[in-house]
């Protein structure tokens, strides 16, 4: 691992000030389970690693009347075991337990999971200068791409690897982004950016900004959710395709529904077309399949990843049917 310095701010104010004022290149370290991989390979080469572990108030889960506040430094294992999560948002528990391994969940954090970098094998190769790393071309587009994006690519075909993000977005989660300039809250869905906006980054997080909290609105009466993750191995695998569905189904009819797919696009992929087809109608297998197909209509697979469309359709269909 190359040399870097570590800064250990103790308060949110210190953190914000540090990020605003330092001239050094900076990487934020939450659990570190993703960043350390990139520091070792050299894909990340910051002068300064800002250790968020000791920043007061960034960890922990606070249930409130209007919803759940999740500190970004909350360990994924803690999220999965939290009584309020288990009771009100089982989809979050499912998503949390579907990711990585027990050991990684003991260290990895919610914020880290949301902000992790893509696993595109060209991006992760330190000797490849792809567009995401400031190079001129995407190597996956005409290279090996069985795990790459079928939707939303264009210049860069990464898929967003997070399992928590689709689940949280389906729940209508918002994030607070903070900096020395102040705080702003935005839907988690809007936090992510397509490569067409800025190919070098996956989120809207500015270089002086950090995630301050994640807010999940309280469940509506009858709200249910399901996360279906399709992968190659039984575990320890990123989604080849996944689907998070949250909604309210009464008498077999979906009055409210949100569908977000993972593993198929550079951002967690909201499937509004599918939601519209389902909303207000009795949920059947045929309708769920039709909704999935509609959501994937715009897809343009690469040479090796067309199969992901079938997997994504299956994931969406199964997650929708799980609401019944």
């Amino acid at each position: 691992m190359r040399e870097f310095r570590i800064a250990q701010p103790r308060t949110v104010e210190e953190l914000a000030a540090l990020l605003a004022e330092t001239k050094e290149s900076v990487a934020l370290m939450a659990g570190g389970t993703d960043l350390i991989d990139m520091l070792k390979s050299g894909v990340a080469a910051p002068d300064l690693v800002v250790d968020l572990q000791g920043v007061e108030g960034l960890a922990g889960i606070a249930p409130g009347k209007d919803g759940l506040r999740i500190g970004p430094l909350t360990r994924v294992a803690a999220l999965a075991a939290d009584p309020a999560v288990v009771r009100d948002f089982p989809i979050l528990k499912e998503a949390a337990l579907s990711l990585a391994t027990p050991q990684l969940r003991n260290v990895g954090t919610v914020g880290g999971n949301l902000c992790q970098r893509p696993r595109c094998w060209y991006f992760r190769d330190p000797e490849v200068a792809c567009r995401k790393k400031g190079g001129m071309r995407c190597f996956a587009m005409r290279g090996r791409n069985k795990y790459h994006a079928v939707l939303g690519g264009g210049g860069c075909f990464i898929v967003h690897p997070s399992d928590l993000a689709p689940a949280l977005i389906s729940l209508g989660a918002a994030v607070t982004v903070a900096s020395a300039r102040g705080e702003k809250s935005l839907p988690l869905e809007d936090f992510y950016r397509l490569p067409s906006v800025d190919v070098t980054r996956e989120t809207s997080l500015g270089r002086d900004e950090f995630l301050k909290d994640v807010f999940v609105p309280a469940p509506k009466p009858g709200q249910k959710g399901a996360y279906v993750k399709l992968k190659e191995r039984g575990t320890w695998d990123f989604a080849v395709a996944s689907a998070a569905v949250s909604g309210v189904v009464k008498g077999g009819v979906a009055s409210e529904i949100a569908i977000v797919a993972g593993g198929i696009a550079p951002v967690p992929w909201r499937m509004k077309a599918a939601e519209e087809i389902l909303r207000g109608k009795p949920v059947t297998e045929a309708l769920a399949a039709r909704a999935a197909a509609a959501a994937l209509k715009e897809a343009s697979p690469l040479a090796e990843n067309a199969y992901k469309l079938e997997l994504a359709a299956a994931a969406v269909k199964r997650a929708v049917l799980a609401l019944l």
């Binding site: 094998w121 090996r144 069985k146 190659e232 191995r233 039984g234 090796e304 199969y307």
Partner: protein, 718 residues
């Protein structure tokens, strides 16, 4: 054999050492003043190395040696170009970055399919990219196909499977004057010693290679590694010990893999299940080196009167392949046994019946000799019973619903019969302690324990009483731990040495008992004359009378290969579930029946089989090295994207040994097991998937992508 330990389950004699973290692996060796060596590798698949400038690297404080390793031309991405040794890893890493290499990049070809095309860049000078390297023929295939009621043609493909042993390849080299000691993560201490002698032009007598414990090899550590030579050269230049331990990334790029295969079979079968003819054309790819011959199962397993095989190696600008647990037969069995199931389906016959119908008790290979023993029929029967063979789909894919179940099986055929001339010594000490020594190596298979079991059984002691020493080239010669030869080579040698020791002890005891040696009995650390059990002499007293340590030599004897064929056999049965919508395969239950002669230690033997199954399942479903077609660089030289089965991918496993003892083979009737347990496992899973969904995927790994593609093929009716 009325045995107390042989054939029973004995926990490993060195278990305590391993579970307390005190077993010394090469990775753990830390010598005084040891430096860390690292290797610079070519980023190009083909290039001329114009110059290597080490000056800046050498000038970096903490760097004590730097070498150019370039030999003019680079033929694959990852080939070594230069190396450094420094006081720590970070300094070595920095120094690599300071080496200036001037490459003249040359055209390259990465995919073997493209390397076959006319006009493809030539991988080797003055040689074409495609070379026939194996062939076999008997009878008249065209005639045989005409006699058949059904003829099918099928192509089966196997992927580049990377060994990925837990411990990456590593060597620590230390010179004392002209004497060289190398700690090496190797399956072959003697072979590495001899290889180093040749490479360094120093006498083999002055080299010692040591391997105490090793984190897996699976064939990738059978010979001298380039990194080992590098460690020795760096150590010589620096005048200090040097450790070179490859990274996981290097492990995935430049120390070998199982060569791929592309096997096209054409075969004929009569309605009654009689095979009439088989032809096989295989394209194997092992990068800059030859691929694996896959013909053995096709040529030898079934009675087929007309056979023709042609195998071609296709050379590409990728690293060299190497032996990987049962090289060739593993790929070949996936093809042949897949074909057998598709032939059975073509005539509507039980696939196991087809195998029985064409069963042979004579080798079908060149010699035509009768098998000394062959328990394959017993394996079929035992395995079929245990899995519930009658529960399979009579017609592949006949089930209904979105998730289909199926049962499939595959045979195993391998050698694994031992190497005559293997040596082992028993040393008796005057204090009554016993040592067994052999220059073999325990690569995780439990060799130490089986040696202790055989010695203890013969000497009337307990396995824990025996001190076992292996893993040094200074010990008596034994072959590489590969080819499933270790047990049938070492165990008989230990047995022979121990029998000699017993004879000597009885002789000494006879003197004390004032009896004839042939009348002396030995039991439970005592010697006595029959009928006078109450007047024994103790083991300790007899040993004390030896006055000094006494060495008894054992040697594995030759076996009559001119009269009999000697092989190992097995049959694996898998039950799977396939999700038609997602293409996901889950193995639900697995039964393995093995004929590996007499089992020495049931505990570790069972582990070998469990491991063979798991690796085969993993290869069948997940494992595949992926290369970037343009650059020849592996895009998954890691354990994230190169996927190995986890605890959640493993079914319930039942292991059966049919215990056919081959008295002609060696004094214990023992055969090898490691590879026989790997050969059929991918094939059995493949056939179970066929039974479940009614179409053979014909390519491993059977990822969701490939399963879905196969289902489309079925829909399209091809």
């Amino acid at each position: 054999m009325d045995a107390k330990y042989i054939g029973k389950a004995t926990p490993r004699v060195d278990g305590r050492k391993v579970v307390t973290g005190r077993a010394e692996y090469t990775h753990d060796v830390r010598l005084k003043d040891m430096l860390f060596g690292m290797i610079l590798r070519s980023p190009h698949a083909a290039a001329e190395v114009v110059s290597v400038d080490l000056a800046q690297a050498k000038a970096l404080p903490g760097v004590l040696a730097a070498l150019s390793l370039a030999e003019g031309r680079v033929r694959y991405a990852g080939q070594q170009v230069a190396a450094v040794a420094a006081v720590d890893e970070r300094t070595a890493e920095k120094a690599l970055g300071l080496i200036k290499v001037d490459y003249k990049v040359l055209p390259s070809v990465v995919e073997w399919e493209k390397a076959r095309e006319p006009g493809a860049p030539q991988v080797r000078e003055a040689k074409p990219n495609v070379e026939k390297f194996s062939e076999a023929a008997r009878g008249d295939v065209e005639k045989g196909l005409k006699e058949a009621d059904a003829v099918i043609e099928r192509t089966y493909r196997t992927a580049f499977e990377v060994h990925n042993p837990a411990e990456t390849h590593a060597s620590v080299a230390a010179w004392e004057g002209e004497r060289l000691t190398v700690y090496d993560s190797t399956q072959n201490v003697h072979g590495v010693r001899d290889g180093l002698a040749r490479a360094l032009k120093v006498p083999a007598a002055g080299i010692t290679v040591i391997k105490h414990y090793m984190g897996g090899g699976f064939g990738s550590k059978l010979g001298l590694g380039e990194h080992t030579v590098v460690a020795a050269l760096l150590a010589r230049e620096a005048g200090r010990p040097v450790r070179v331990a490859l990274s996981r990334r290097e492990n995935g790029m430049c120390v070998g893999y199982r060569p791929s295969s592309f096997q096209t079979y054409k075969a004929g079968i009569k309605k009654d299940g009689t095979l009439t003819a088989l032809s096989l054309v295989n394209y194997a790819s092992g990068g800059i080196d030859y691929g694996d011959e896959v013909l053995e199962p096709a040529v030898d397993l079934y009675r087929i009167p007309n056979v023709k095989v042609e195998e071609f190696s296709v050379f590409t600008n990728t690293g060299a392949g190497c032996a990987c647990r049962a090289p060739g037969n593993t790929q070949g069995m996936f093809g042949l046994e897949g074909l057998m199931d598709e032939l059975a389906a073509a005539i509507g016959m039980d696939p196991l019946e087809v195998r029985r119908k064409n069963y042979t008790t004579r080798s079908q290979g060149d010699t035509g000799l009768p098998y000394s023993t062959k328990g394959l029929d017993l394996c079929y029967a035992a395995g079929a019973k245990a899995i519930g063979w009658e529960r399979r789909n009579r017609r592949p894919g006949e089930g209904s619903g979105p998730v289909r179940r199926g049962i499939g099986m595959s045979s195993s055929l391998w050698w694994g019969t031992g190497v005559p001339g293997t040596l082992a010594d028993i040393v008796l000490y005057p204090d009554g302690s016993v040592e067994v020594v052999s220059g073999t190596q325990d690569i995780g298979t439990g060799t130490r324990t089986h040696m202790a079991v055989v010695a203890a059984e013969t000497l009337g002691l307990e396995p824990k009483d025996i001190v076992v020493n292996v893993g040094s080239s200074d010990y008596p010669w034994a072959p590489a731990s590969g080819g499933s030869v270790t047990t049938p080579s070492v165990a008989p040698a230990v047995r022979e040495a121990a029998l000699k020791a017993v004879a000597r002890l009885k002789q000494v005891a006879a003197g004390k008992l004032k009896a004839k040696a042939e009348d002396v009995l030995m039991d439970g650390r005592r010697f006595f004359v029959k009928g006078a059990e109450d007047k024994p002499v103790a083991w300790a007293d007899v040993c004390r009378s030896l006055r000094r340590e006494t060495v008894f030599h054992g040697e594995a004897a030759a076996y009559p290969q001119d009269q009999y064929a000697f092989n190992t056999f097995g049959a694996h049965f898998a039950e799977v579930e396939v999700d038609l919508e997602t293409g996901k395969v889950r193995v639900l239950r697995y039964v393995a029946a093995q004929d590996s002669g007499r089992i020495i230690n049931r505990q570790t033997a069972e582990s070998q089989v469990v491991g063979g199954i798991t690796q085969g399942l993993s290869a069948a479903l997940f494992e595949e090295r992926v290369l970037d077609s343009a650059t020849g660089r592996s895009v998954n030289p890691n354990l994230r994207d190169y996927k190995i089965a986890t605890s959640l991918d493993i079914p319930e496993i039942e292991v059966i040994f049919v215990d056919v003892v081959d008295e002609r083979l060696n004094i214990l009737g023992a055969k090898g097991l490691g590879e026989p347990a790997r050969i059929p496992s991918s094939a059995a899973v493949g056939n179970a998937v066929f039974n479940a969904i009614g179409v053979h995927v014909r390519e491993i790994p059977m990822t969701p992508k490939r399963v879905l593609e196969a289902l489309k093929r079925k829909e399209a009716g091809s």
